[in-house]
Amino acid sequence: MNAYHYHYVPMGESALDLVLPNKIDVGQNQLIQTVGQQLLAQKIAGVTAIIPAYHTLTVNFVASLVTYGQLTQVLDRLIAAFDPQQAAANSRVLAIPVCYDGEFGPDLAAVAAYGHLSVADLIQMHTQTKYFIYMMGFLPGFAYMGTVPKQIAMPRLDKPRARLEPGSVGIAGAQTGMYPVASPGGWRLLGRTPLQLFNAQHPQLRYQAGDYIQFTAISKTDYRRIQALDLAGKYQIKQTILGDA
């Protein structure tokens, strides 16, 4: 029996929030991801969608088909049966190629100086960590990931840039992320991935909350090569299972 602290709160009559303590924590978030997936797998009539976030799971439902009380009972059972070891071992690790180049990463030098590192050591540090995706949003494909090593966790720019190119990879304090579409943004940019992270013609995403992302440094030549492959639909993201390592 697990002793998790949580409660429920209605979000209107057609949704509810499962609320865990207000913190950013991988174990707690894996519970949210797992319980959310298991809830969907039960195919309960009336359950229409879930939104897993850092410390909450929002469940949308049709109020005439299923009640708040019925759903909290199901969630209680799933939480009690949650197996943290298994959830952690089953996580996917996806390798995302990134070209750490001055053209793509205008803040490389500033972040290196912030961490008292050479640019090469900064790249080494950014690529050696597996970043956990806590949640997706506010845009399709935008992954909220952590945790960036403290030494290079430089706060975001005081004044956001008007436009970041799709694929831009950057850090904002302890968070790291990639921009799926062009957007204004204040993140410190270190590089860019050649992969198309969002395409309105083929909107299925290649990663989801609960996955780990590990960046791999590539040259500008490889950037062009992978970009061409990916546009032709021939690039496969390298994928491993955390527990298999």
């Binding site: 209605p10 979000m11 879930i50 976030a53 949003g137």
Partner: protein, 338 residues
């Protein structure tokens, strides 16, 4: 497949259904009709599923020319529609012949109008389980954007509509709702008792900053909680309080996650009247209970269910089973346009 030609684009007209629900976990906004009750009614009037894709338009509707026979229904805001220059009623199935033109006058009251087309609605491609348009990411609908002059909206022609003469619904008298009912939101308790009672007692108005993502309200600013929040999921009707103490009500194109405290959520039964309210109209929020909110929504749904049952009951009245051309002729006589 036939098409509807867009002769005049109107203002920000988009293709919408009930929304792209299932991909919120990946960050996709739900989108879909702002006034879902009006979309459902329009679809019911032309014998469609509630989720069929229809045209949503604001302020001034588009001018459309139909290239094949069908039936349409127009619901929502008072959009003063006309067919070949003759006024036609809202909330009623209308027979359309090839070459017919439908146009609108600027809306007298309300914000969002709907035009549904029989035989399954607008046949734009399904994207991730929905035909709804999300403008911000150019997804779904017709090329992910608003209508433009020269566009062709695909639909399946329709020659007969069961129970055509009976497919009309009362047009409710438009009146300011005065009160919009809410349930406590996830961060209700973070607000001081003074802020909570101010929220419920003061008069609000919808500001000029009101679009498909959300409506900013104006009133006396509320004291804002100082706690640092981390982002969480949002739902239709969530009321966030921004740093300046003003509420934003999150609507169809809302971001899937937000970090502002959510003081309350507009109940489903009051969303349509809230969405259609004009800027500058006074209203207050009124706290209600979960069971009341459920019962009100169920009662609203029951109106549509009763209407659907009455159409089905009329369906088999004489004349039974005329040939297709005969039925079409009959429909023309009924609408005095033969």
């Amino acid at each position: 497949m036939a098409t509807i030609e867009v002769l005049n684009s109107g203002f920000a007209a988009t293709v919408q259904d009930l929304g792209r629900y299932q991909y919120q976990s990946a960050g996709f906004p739900v989108s879909g009709a702002m006034d879902q009750a009006s979309l459902k009614l329009a679809n019911l009037l032309v014998n469609n599923d509630a989720n069929a894709a229809a045209l949503e338009f604001i302020l001034a509707g588009p001018t459309l020319q139909f290239q094949a026979p069908t039936f349409i229904a127009i619901t929502g805001a008072a959009s003063s529609p006309s067919l070949n220059g003759q006024p036609i009623a809202l909330n009623q199935a209308i027979a359309i012949q090839a070459g017919d033109q439908v146009q609108f006058a600027p809306m007298a009251t309300g914000r969002y109008g709907y035009l549904a087309v029989a035989n399954g609605g607008l046949q734009v491609p399904m994207v991730l389980g929905s035909r709804a348009t999300t403008l911000k990411i150019q997804l779904g609908g017709l090329f992910g954007r608003t209508l433009a002059v020269g566009d062709a909206l695909p639909f399946e022609p329709c020659y007969v509509l069961p129970s055509l003469a009976h497919r009309h619904a009362p047009v409710p008298a438009v009146k300011a709702p005065g009160h919009i009912r809410v349930l406590k939101g996830p961060q209700w308790d973070l607000f001081t008792p003074a802020a909570q009672s101010q929220f419920l007692q003061q008069t609000y108005q919808i500001s000029q900053q009101a679009d498909r993502m959300g409506y900013q309200l104006q009133g006396e600013p509320l004291p804002v909680p100082t706690e640092n929040l981390i982002s969480e999921g949002t739902v239709l009707g969530n009321i966030q309080i921004t740093r300046n103490g003003q509420p934003i009500v999150l609507l169809a194109d809302r971001q899937t996650a937000g970090g502002y405290p959510m003081i309350a959520t507009v109940i489903g039964a009051d969303l349509a009247s809230f969405v259609q309210m004009s800027a500058g109209e006074d209203f207050q929020f009124e706290l209600t209970a979960l069971n009341t909110a459920r019962a009100l929504l169920a009662a609203q749904q029951q109106v549509l269910t009763t209407l659907a049952a009455s159409f089905a009951a009329q369906k088999y009245q004489a004349p039974v089973g005329p040939a297709r051309t005969g039925a079409q002729k009959l429909a023309q006589i009924i609408t005095h346009r033969g």
